[in-house]
């Protein structure tokens, strides 16, 4: 068990390092960062000044090591746009994004798992098909567009929910639902497939031969085994939701990390972009580690090997 987690930790660390390189290389894609920062109207002197001020005249490896070392110690640089430390900017906005992601995941799981179980138990029936069709419809819905439609309908027409901001918990409902929509189909299909597999397994036949009740067979014996892939994918989906918050926060005008990232990209504020890429990658890695641990708890076979 310990060994298993240690191996994962080493893997996680090397993935972090790679993402660090990617995040750094990404902003150097355009060739000359100084030109991008200075904007189209800058003179060549302006560019030279910027290059010097930001240390962009040094060799690339030196710049990278410098940046990475600072990042490792928690200093993610200063925003060109806000003229403030990036770490502070992110800390301010992270709660909104996390709240959004968690509300999305909660809505998604609460919808997907019961529907998946129901669908598996009624495999091949009209109900199963109907649930599958709903999932398919959800999958086809462009999230930003769904957001806009919800804003028009519930925000403007019915005036049930606030159209922007998260001053109250109601503010999370619409954006959370939109985020959940993108995750529900995958989670539901996975629950269904896992349950169908589990329900047709030999050990479920044994459980039935033992005369156990349907509730015990489905919820105790089958669900536990079907849950593992769902846990893994739920972690991955939460990571994706946080990444997808860039679109949703723009639609609902929420000032979270996603909105910050979008703003920085459009204003060439690269220290912030780099920092957000790094942050999301680390959150993703942390989540997969968490999922692995949870699965090791669920499955005794993983604990041994």
């Amino acid at each position: 068990m310990l060994q298993f987690l240690l191996r994962r930790a080493v893997l996680a660390l090397s993935v972090c390092l790679t993402v660090l390189v990617v995040a750094f290389a990404l902003t150097r894609l355009s060739g000359d960062l100084a030109v991008s920062i200075a904007g189209p109207n800058a003179t060549s002197e302006d560019v030279a000044t910027i290059r010097k001020n930001y240390g962009l005249d040094r060799p690339l490896p030196v710049q990278f090591v410098d940046w990475a070392a600072n990042a490792a110690s928690g200093d993610l640089g200063r925003s060109y746009l806000y003229r403030a430390p990036v770490s502070g900017l992110i800390r301010e906005r992270l709660p909104i994004t996390l709240g959004l992601g968690l509300s999305g995941l909660t809505i998604a799981l609460l919808t997907a798992i019961p529907l998946g179980i129901l669908s598996a138990m009624r495999e091949g029936t009209l109900l199963d098909r109907a649930i599958g069709l709903v999932a398919l419809l959800g999958q086809a819905m462009p999230s930003f567009w769904l957001g806009l439609i919800l804003v028009i309908w519930f925000g403007l027409k019915l005036q049930w929910l606030p159209i922007s901001g998260v001053d109250t918990w109601q503010g999370y409902i619409m954006p959370g639902t939109v985020l959940a929509f993108s995750a529900i189909p995958a989670l539901m299909r996975l629950t269904r497939a896992g349950m169908i597999e589990a329900l047709s397994s030999d050990y479920i036949r044994t459980a039935r031969a033992k005369g156990l009740s349907t509730a015990s067979i489905v919820l105790k014996h089958a669900l536990r085994n079907a849950a593992m892939p769902v846990v893994s994918v739920a972690a991955v989906q939460l990571g994706f939701m946080l990444g997808g918050s860039i679109v949703i926060e723009t639609v609902f005008a929420l000032h979270g990390v996603g909105y910050l990232a979008w703003e920085s990209i459009s204003k060439n504020d690269f220290p912030v972009v780099q920092a957000v890429v790094l942050l999301l990658a680390m959150i993703y890695i942390g989540l997969t580690l968490l999922a692995d641990t949870m699965n090791a708890v669920l499955d005794p076979r993983l604990r041994a090997g």
Binding site: Q3, L6, R7, V10
Partner: protein, 320 residues
């Protein structure tokens, strides 16, 4: 024809950053030779390494150490085409041994095609000839495996193995996945083809009754070694290893009125990653003595027989 010298195959043991050292000694020092036209039956229970040995002989797995020679040539020196001309396999499960996306003619023709430089018409003729020999009609050539029964599929696998006229065929549990009525058909076919084509078989099976029927020589494998090896008649008439005896006793023949034997092996399960000291069979052995835990029973073969038991020359004790 084939000579196997001190072959070892160990798995795992890659000392990664955190992975523990767990070496599985699947094949742990095996030597034998087999003359042309012979059938060596290798018997053993699951996990004893018999299938690994088969794969080593086929060249599908590299050996950890040791040498396998066919007609005097070391397998390690042969390229894949030369090897294919000498040795071919027949596997257990005819449902997974045929590519479901290929027609029977392409499956049987693959060994010929891999040799290269054979005109299409000649290849086709060879394939059709082989299909006829294994008792499949010509129209089968255009079918896909899914359209065939288990017995027919195994005939296709046999045709593929023999189309290059190899010297040696490694049959790895060729009838275990089949119903008894079909099993008999396939065993009879293999026997006929051996006579017609002068083949040499290495016949791996867990079924002692089947091995007794087909083999000229039998090796009993336990935890990676041949613990007993002898001419078939000798081995069945006078087994010299307690494990062989237990295996023989476990064969349930369709003769009513006989009780189910007490094989007396206990409930310890052999683990190839943790091979006992001394005699590797001693934890399960009904006649084990203290010295069996320390002393290695490995002795050079006597009169062509191997019996890796300290009491091998004590027939009274073995039979008890």
């Amino acid at each position: 024809m084939i000579e196997v010298r001190d072959v070892y195959r160990h798995f795992g043991g890659r000392t990664g950053l955190f992975s523990a050292d767990r070496v599985v000694r699947a094949v742990d020092g095996i030597s034998f030779s087999l003359a042309k036209g012979g059938v060596l039956g290798i018997v053993g229970e699951s996990g004893c390494g018999k299938s690994t040995l088969g794969r080593l002989i086929l060249g599908l797995l590299p050996t950890t150490s040791g040498d396998i020679r066919v007609e005097g040539q070391s397998l390690a020196d042969l390229d894949r085409r030369e090897r294919a001309r000498l040795i071919q396999p027949i596997f257990q499960d005819p449902y997974s041994s045929l590519n479901p996306r290929q027609r029977i003619r392409d499956i049987v023709g693959l060994p010929l095609a891999a040799q290269g430089a054979m005109p299409a018409a000649k290849q086709r003729a060879e394939v059709m000839d082989m299909l006829a020999r294994v008792g499949l009609s010509a129209e089968m050539a255009e079918r896909y495996p899914a359209q065939l029964s288990g017995g027919q599929r195994q005939r296709v696998a046999i045709a593929r193995a023999l189309v290059l006229r190899p010297r040696i065929v490694v049959c790895d549990e060729p009838t275990s996945a089949l119903d008894v009525s079909v099993q008999a058909q396939i065993l009879n076919l293999l026997a006929d083809l051996r006579r017609e084509l002068g083949l040499t078989y290495i016949f791996i099976s867990h079924n002692l009754a089947v091995v007794e029927h087909v083999a000229t020589e039998v090796a009993v494998m336990y935890l990676g070694r041949f613990v007993e090896q002898a001419a078939s008649d000798d081995l069945f008439r006078e087994p010299r290893h307690p494990y062989t005896r237990a295996l023989l006793a476990s064969v349930l023949t369709a003769e009513p009125g006989i009780a189910i034997p007490d094989v007396g092996l206990g409930d310890i399960y052999p683990d190839p990653a943790n091979i006992p000291s001394g005699c590797r069979f001693h934890p399960r052995c009904p006649i084990a003595a203290d010295r069996c835990r320390i002393e290695s029973p490995i002795r050079p073969p006597k009169n062509g027989r191997i019996a890796e038991c300290l009491f091998a020359s004590d027939p009274v004790r073995i039979q008890s």
